[in-house]
């Protein structure tokens, strides 16, 4: 067996086309990994710099204040989702969903949908990351490496002779295609492993990712082998394989996406903001009681302190901010649930496309899938709730202003990946 493999290895190195495809795979893998690492490092650098600037800005904002309401109005708090140590391989939704916010005590619905997105062209065309390379480009390279193993021998007139001398059919084709498959896997995975070591990704995650690449490309190997057996011209085999690739890697995912988006409509996002804004702004024109009632329904503990006597009081101001969020809450919930439903449906639909399955699995490992982005939003909501829990006692009990107490302001800590 070893002799057969090394013989096939020598054959492969003499096939110029095969060497070109393998070199291309290696170069693309290096490029994908290098750009991926550069991007996550830049994102980490941005976050580190912002954490410092944010603290300085908040200290500056608090310095001039003389009451709790003013502090809560002026102090912004940075929230963020740092890229995981595996994100370099699959940047996923980080180009489409925000991973940075600065929130304050005002109605959260007006702040959390803020899109700190990058250049729109990025989201339109997409990045060349390792997940895209292995899911979409690598199968095509594998097809180019393997489609004419048999038919080329047929064209050369050696096919039957080869089989006769080798005895069993498998003894010829298996080592030949295994060598090529193995070489492609190495060309793709070696840069990936080096990158993972540089980024300090967990070995278990890297092993799972490598296994998925192996299995998914194994599926493509099987498909290529099946269709490559047919006794037709190599060009016909290649055309068929390209058609299969196109269907599995491009058309089915796109059709599934369109069908899922149609099947699970997402509420018009703008409506969330409109509701929140109408509620918040109408508060100035309606009796204070009309604001305090729905607020106290959520927070009965402040009922004793909730009489508003003057036209403007901070506790009333923050109460109507919260009531604005309450008004938009059903719609915001629907928006979140619809996104999760779409993602769950996409997870099922991905079973028909090895390319989608691989990319989604990578994004899942990297914490860059829709679920992770929604989890980040949940973390921002939880943090905002902690801010309210911090300020409400101070505002409602009308505690004397004491900047020293601000030492205990809740701090945002990102979820560990």
């Amino acid at each position: 067996m070893i002799a057969a493999l090394s013989r096939e290895g020598r054959f492969m190195l003499r096939d110029r086309a095969a060497v070109v495809w393998l070199a291309l795979a290696f170069a693309l893998s290096v490029a994908a990994i290098a750009f991926g690492i550069a991007e996550v490092r830049e994102q980490r650098g941005t976050i580190a710099a912002l954490v410092e600037e944010d603290a300085a800005d908040r200290a500056n904002a608090i310095a001039g204040q003389s009451d709790w309401g003013g502090v809560a109005y002026n102090a912004f708090h940075l929230t963020y989702a740092p890229p995981s140590d595996f994100a370099f391989a699959a940047l996923g939704q980080r180009d489409a969903s925000p991973w940075l916010h600065r929130v304050r005590m005002l109605a959260l619905e007006g702040q959390i949908h803020e899109a700190d997105t990058r250049n729109a062209d990025f989201g339109l065309i997409g990045r060349f990351d390792f997940a895209f390379l292995t899911a979409t480009v690598a199968p095509l390279l594998l097809i180019l490496l393997l489609y004419d193993l048999r038919s080329a021998e047929r064209v050369a007139g050696r096919h039957d002779l080869l089989l006769a001398t080798a005895g069993a059919e498998r003894a010829v084709w298996l080592p030949r295609s295994a060598v090529r498959f193995g070489a492609l896997m190495l060309a793709l995975l070696v840069p990936f492993w080096v990158g993972a070591a540089l980024e300090g990704a967990s070995a278990f995650v890297v092993a799972r990712a490598s296994a998925v690449v192996l299995v998914m490309l194994g599926v493509w190997w099987l498909i290529t082998d099946r269709l490559g057996r047919r006794n037709t011209a190599p060009a016909t085999i290649l055309t068929t394989l390209i058609g299969v690739w196109l269907a599995l890697a491009l058309l089915l995912p796109a059709l599934a996406k369109a069908a899922i988006d149609a099947r699970y409509p997402v509420p018009e996002g703008g409506e969330i903001l409109l509701l929140q804004r109408e509620s918040v702004n109408s508060a100035w024109d309606i009796p204070k009681q009309a604001t305090m009632e729905p607020f106290l329904a959520r927070h009965p503990e402040w009922a004793e302190y909730a009489t508003i006597e003057r036209p403007f009081e901070w506790k009333w101001y923050y109460a109507f901010q919260q009531v604005g969020d309450q008004a938009a809450e059903p719609l915001a919930r629907q928006y979140r649930a619809a996104r999760l439903a779409r993602d769950a449906a996409a997870g099922k639909a991905a079973l028909v496309s090895p390319a989608s399955l691989l990319e989604r699995y990578f994004q899942h490992l990297a914490g860059t899938d829709a679920g992770a982005m929604i989890a980040y939003e949940d973390a921002v909501r939880a943090y905002h709730a902690r801010l309210r829990a911090f300020y409400y006692p101070l505002l409602f009990r009308d505690e004397p202003y004491d900047p020293a107490l601000l030492e205990d302001l809740p701090r945002f800590t990102p979820a560990a990946d």
Binding site: A17, F35, E39, E42, E53, D54, D57, N60, A61, L78, Q93, A96, L100, R102, H113, E114, A115, D116, R118, N119, A120, D121, F122, G123, L124, I125, R127, F128, A131, F132, L140, L141, L144, D148, A152, A235, I242, L246, L250, L251, A256, K257, D261, G269, G270, L273, R277, E278, N281, W284, R310, P311, F312, R342, A346, S353, S356, L358, E359, A370
Partner: protein, 478 residues
């Protein structure tokens, strides 16, 4: 010439007899028809919806009750980006950027709720739309149909016979080119229909024609590449391999590497990042809500001197309104400076990424297509600029009211004195200061100017490949 037509005719006859070619063409035809119809339906609905939302937003603003004008500054307004008629073919960045923006005092918000954020994630590709099919799929179909145009003759031995009969190799290549051009012409029909629909929906004829011409050029580039490879390479499967690799590189790899490179080479800080830098500068400008902020001392002194009075209470105008207007103007200058910087670095990124079009005609045609359809990044930036001027317009008009219609004493006491509060409410008829906003695509000339570079590049590709075809044909031997 008649030889060329005869050769092309023969080629077509063979194609029509090939089940694979006919099946592939039918599948693509169905795809184009289906995505075309779906995209058209989706964008036409969205255009109507957003126009209705824009009117509703204005109606809501006008219908607000009597209020303190500053409340209306915070009540704010919504602006919607209406999709241009040709977006039914190429929706461009429409999916990726938010389509509506909330306009209020003291802030520039981002456009929120992009479709892409909430859409089902199937990995790799953006949603299919007609433009994507033209950019990605039709070249592949051309490859599958055309890679054997010359090789077929070579492999069946007819090439030698043809050349031996004194048929000139150039005429042969001309005939094959004509056959491929016929395919390209057929491919252009659905696009021509969609462009006509765009014109019927109010688009100028110029950009619509240029769009069709641009894609014609693009597909001709691919036809020339297919013909050149088919003439130069010795076997059908090798030609198909080379062409597939070209497709892979130009359509899938180079554009995305361009994005990576643009992102790595040009640092474009996100909005939150640049806002933080800005905020620290903003604090130096003073808080416009607080007229006793020391930053406004100079302003106060100037006004007192101008009216020859001793205190702000004696001024014939409301000092608080003056401060609001003054600080909004200062702040807007700062906001615009940072927004402009951000947009410029994005434009620089797109420029870097545009340079990759030298290696990928797909990038070139995509850029030209979005520019002509009015769905490119530059159009989105213009939307942001125009909405900003709407924002500044109504906010300053309201601040003007604040300064001239309200008494300073009432205004200062409104937080504690309900009667003073009631006197600071302005009659709701004043809300008519809001400008009507209808976003429209750039005039055709500007869109041509943006599409000119990429289209020239495509023409360059075509000229180079045509030269290659001639060179290959001259060396053609059985």
């Amino acid at each position: 010439m008649s030889t060329a037509i005869r050769i092309a005719h023969e080629e077509w006859r063979l194609w029509l007899r090939s089940r694979m070619v006919v099946a592939a063409a039918l599948i693509v035809a169905v795809l184009i028809a289906a995505t075309g119809a779906l995209t058209m339906e989706r964008l036409t609905t969205q255009a109507k919806q957003r126009a209705a939302q824009q009117e509703a937003a204005e109606a809501a603003f006008f219908a607000q009750p009597d209020r303190h004008p500053h409340r209306m500054v915070h009540y704010g307004h919504y602006a919607f980006r209406l999709p241009p008629p040709l977006s039914v073919f190429d929706p461009g960045v429409d999916m990726v950027t938010g389509q509506s923006i909330f306009l209020e005092g003291h802030r520039q918000n981002t456009a929120m709720f992009a479709d892409a954020k909430a859409s089902a994630n199937m990995g790799g590709f953006a949603a299919l739309n007609p433009a994507a099919l033209y950019q990605l799929l039709l070249p592949l179909l051309l490859i599958i149909i055309g890679h054997g145009v010359v090789l077929r003759e070579r492999e069946s031995g007819t090439l030698g016979v043809l050349l031996a009969q004194g048929q000139s190799a150039l005429a042969l290549a001309g005939g094959k080119a004509l056959a491929l051009l016929g395919v390209v012409a057929l491919f252009m029909l659905p696009l021509a229909l969609m462009a006509a629909y765009g014109v019927a929906a109010g688009e100028a004829a110029g950009p619509a024609i240029a769009l069709v011409a641009g894609y014609g050029l693009y597909l001709m580039v691919w036809a020339a590449l297919v013909l050149a490879v088919s003439t130069l390479v010795r076997s059908r499967s090798a030609a198909l391999g080379v062409l597939t690799a070209c497709w892979l590189a130009m359509v899938l790899v180079v554009p995305r590497l361009g994005i990576n490179a643009a992102s790595a080479l040009v640092d474009a800080p996100g909005k939150i990042e640049s806002d933080l830098v800005m905020l620290s500068q903003e604090r130096k400008l003073g808080d416009g809500h607080n007229a006793s902020d020391p930053a406004f001392e100079q302003l106060k002194q100037d006004l007192l001197d101008q009216y020859g009075v001793e205190s702000v209470e004696e001024l014939p105008i409301n000092f608080r309104g003056v401060v609001a207007s003054y600080s909004e103007e200062k702040l807007t200058g700062l906001l615009n400076e940072f927004a402009e910087r951000r947009m410029q670095s994005e434009a620089r990124q797109s420029e870097v990424f545009g340079r990759f079009a030298l290696a990928s005609p797909t990038l070139a045609v995509g850029a030209a297509s979005r520019a002509l359809a009015g769905t490119d990044l530059a159009t989105h930036h213009r939307f942001l600029r125009e909405t900003e001027s709407v924002r500044f317009g109504f906010v300053q008009a309201l601040n003007e009211m604040h300064a001239t219609k309200l008494s300073y004493i009432d205004d200062a006491r409104r937080s504690v004195d309900p009667e003073a509060e009631a006197r600071t409410r302005v009659n709701a008829q004043a809300w008519a200061v809001l400008d009507r906003f209808r976003f429209a695509p750039d005039p055709p000339a500007e869109r041509f100017a943006r599409a000119f570079g990429p289209l020239t590049l495509l023409a360059g590709w075509l000229a180079a490949l045509a030269a290659l075809v001639v060179y290959a044909a001259r060396r053609l031997a059985p």
